[in-house]
């Protein structure tokens, strides 16, 4: 655990030295009755960075995302998103973010386009801007079935609309919780390209995944968490060098003695 402690210390130093952090998490704790879901978690995410939050199922990834997006209050600790404290200014935070939940949360009686536009309206977007943004997002992923009710969509299509809804408000910070779960390899590759293109638009992306190759391909930095604790932090390359590992999966194996995918 000494490496994890060192990494945590590094992240603390980083948060105090940089003024360009999109997200600052400090000593975050979330308890559900007797269960510690997030345990003294600290990390920072720079503006314009794709940040991978990795860990097996039940590691605390989704709970962390829920706290950062204002859905849950932490038991203790602080979290700043876009410079705003998530517990004190949740509305300001919600104006800056887009959230792609793990479960495709979509109205089945609406078309793909209507779902996207509905959430644009909930972000109080201008009508003209909303139409243009919807068109550009659908074109970006080459989505052809947007005028059809989502009831008949495949799992992969639902996932794509789920992702586009998260980006309709042109968020500065996007939380993508397992965005490619259930997609076939081809759709997954296409989605990776799309997520990669967000970086070119200077968007900060927090990507939670248990697909290690996804995190390696996309992330500038990753935090690996297990049992709610940060156990490694750095760029994929740094971590692989540090632990003399072939990939991040081996890094996790080296630190914990088990595989990330075990819990799935």
């Amino acid at each position: 655990m000494s490496s994890a402690t060192n990494n945590k210390k590094n992240s603390d130093d980083f948060s105090e030295s940089s003024n360009h952090n999109a997200i600052v998490v400090k000593n975050l704790v979330k308890n559900f009755e007797n269960i510690v879901a997030v345990n003294d978690l600290s990390f920072d995410v720079k503006e314009g960075e794709i940040f991978g939050l990795l860990g097996p199922n039940g590691a605390g990834k989704t709970t962390t995302i829920k706290i950062l997006s204002g859905l849950l209050n932490p038991t203790s600790g602080t979290a700043y998103v876009g410079g705003y404290d998530v517990t004190k200014n949740p509305r300001k935070v919600k104006e800056l973010i887009g959230v792609c939940p793990q479960q495709a949360a979509i109205y089945k009686f609406l078309t793909g386009r209507e779902n996207i536009e509905l959430f644009g309206n909930l972000h109080t977007m201008d009508k003209k801007e909303l139409k243009e943004r919807t068109n550009s997002l659908l074109e970006a992923v080459n989505f052809k079935e947007s005028e059809r009710k989502t009831k008949g969509y495949s799992g992969g299509m639902l996932r794509q609309i789920n992702l586009l809804i998260a980006l309709i408000n042109n968020p500065k910070i996007a939380f993508l919780d397992e965005p490619t779960v259930g997609m076939d390899p081809r759709a997954r590759r296409k989605t990776w390209e799309f997520i990669g293109s967000l970086k070119e638009q200077n968007k900060t992306v927090i990507l939670t995944t248990h697909y290690i190759e996804e995190a390696e391909a996309l992330s500038d930095n990753v935090a690996i968490i297990d049992y709610g604790e940060l156990i490694a932090y750095g760029s994929p390359k740094e971590l692989m060098e540090k632990y003399n590992a072939k990939n991040l999966e081996d890094v996790f194996m080296e630190i914990t003695g088990r595989r990330i995918l075990e819990g799935i």
Binding site: K94, V99, Q103, A105, L110, K149
Partner: protein, 239 residues
């Protein structure tokens, strides 16, 4: 959006609009020819005010199902990640479901008229009745919110909504009351609406003291229940 759902979902369309229509037709055909004991008045005409109230209380189940469905599918949580507050979201649902409930009443009014129901004070009577059904609809939406808050799934919500629907149906709408059931009915919102509507359709003006008392009661009940529904839903049902 709720209105769009009616158009797009056939099962929902049936539940929301056709069910009250079918019920009115069945009651009309079954009771229009049966004398009520009042000279020149059929049993159906006696039951008609209760049918208007009944059309409103069915929205309890619809609201409870809609909110639990949205919650189960993660939609409520997703909406909570946008700057739209839960109060704004609940308010939009209250407005749209109240409108749907009123549409149901309009269908029942038109059909009952077609089946021969003629209130003593004509259009004024119908318009006066509408004031009451607006408040009963708001009350029913509030009870739907309470049901959604205490239900873990939409299946449970359907069952639990009958806790509020059945007593009102039997003791506060179209079923004739005895001296015992009247005592129970006085605890139910629909009772005050049915009582007022019966008086209005028999020629009483809105300024009649009994009608005003019933109006005051349903207004007070609707305010308390909708406030309670919003509070309970925000605390327990919105997660």
């Amino acid at each position: 959006m709720e209105l769009l759902k009616i158009i797009r979902e056939p099962a929902y369309l049936f539940l929301m609009l056709l069910f009250p229509a079918v019920l009115t037709l069945v009651f009309g055909l079954a009771f229009a020819g049966i004398p009520s004991g009042i000279p020149g008045v059929s049993q159906f005409e006696v039951m008609a005010p209760g049918l208007y109230a009944y059309a409103c209380i069915f929205i309890i189940m619809v609201v409870a199902q809609a909110f639990t469905d949205d919650r189960e599918q993660g939609l409520l949580e997703r909406i909570n990640t946008t700057p739209t507050s839960s109060s704004e979201f609940i308010a939009s649902h209250i407005i749209s479901n109240t409108i749907i409930s009123l549409m149901q009443v309009v269908i029942v009014i038109i059909l009952s008229y077609a089946l021969g129901f003629r209130p003593d004070n004509g259009l004024i009577g119908f318009l006066s009745a509408f004031i009451f059904v607006v408040f009963l609809s708001i009350t029913s939406v509030g009870l739907g919110l309470v049901t959604a808050s205490i239900s873990k799934s939409s299946g449970t919500a359907t069952g639990l909504s009958f806790i509020f629907i059945l007593p009102q149906m039997f003791f506060g709408t179209f079923v004739p009351l005895t001296s015992t059931t009247r005592i129970i009915a006085q605890f139910l919102p629909s009772y005050y609406v049915t009582e007022a509507l019966t008086a209005i359709f028999n020629g009483a003006p809105l300024t009649d003291l009994n009608v005003l008392f019933n109006l005051g009661m349903i207004i007070a009940i609707s305010i308390v229940i909708i406030a309670l529904g919003i509070l309970i839903f925000k605390k327990y049902g919105n997660k």
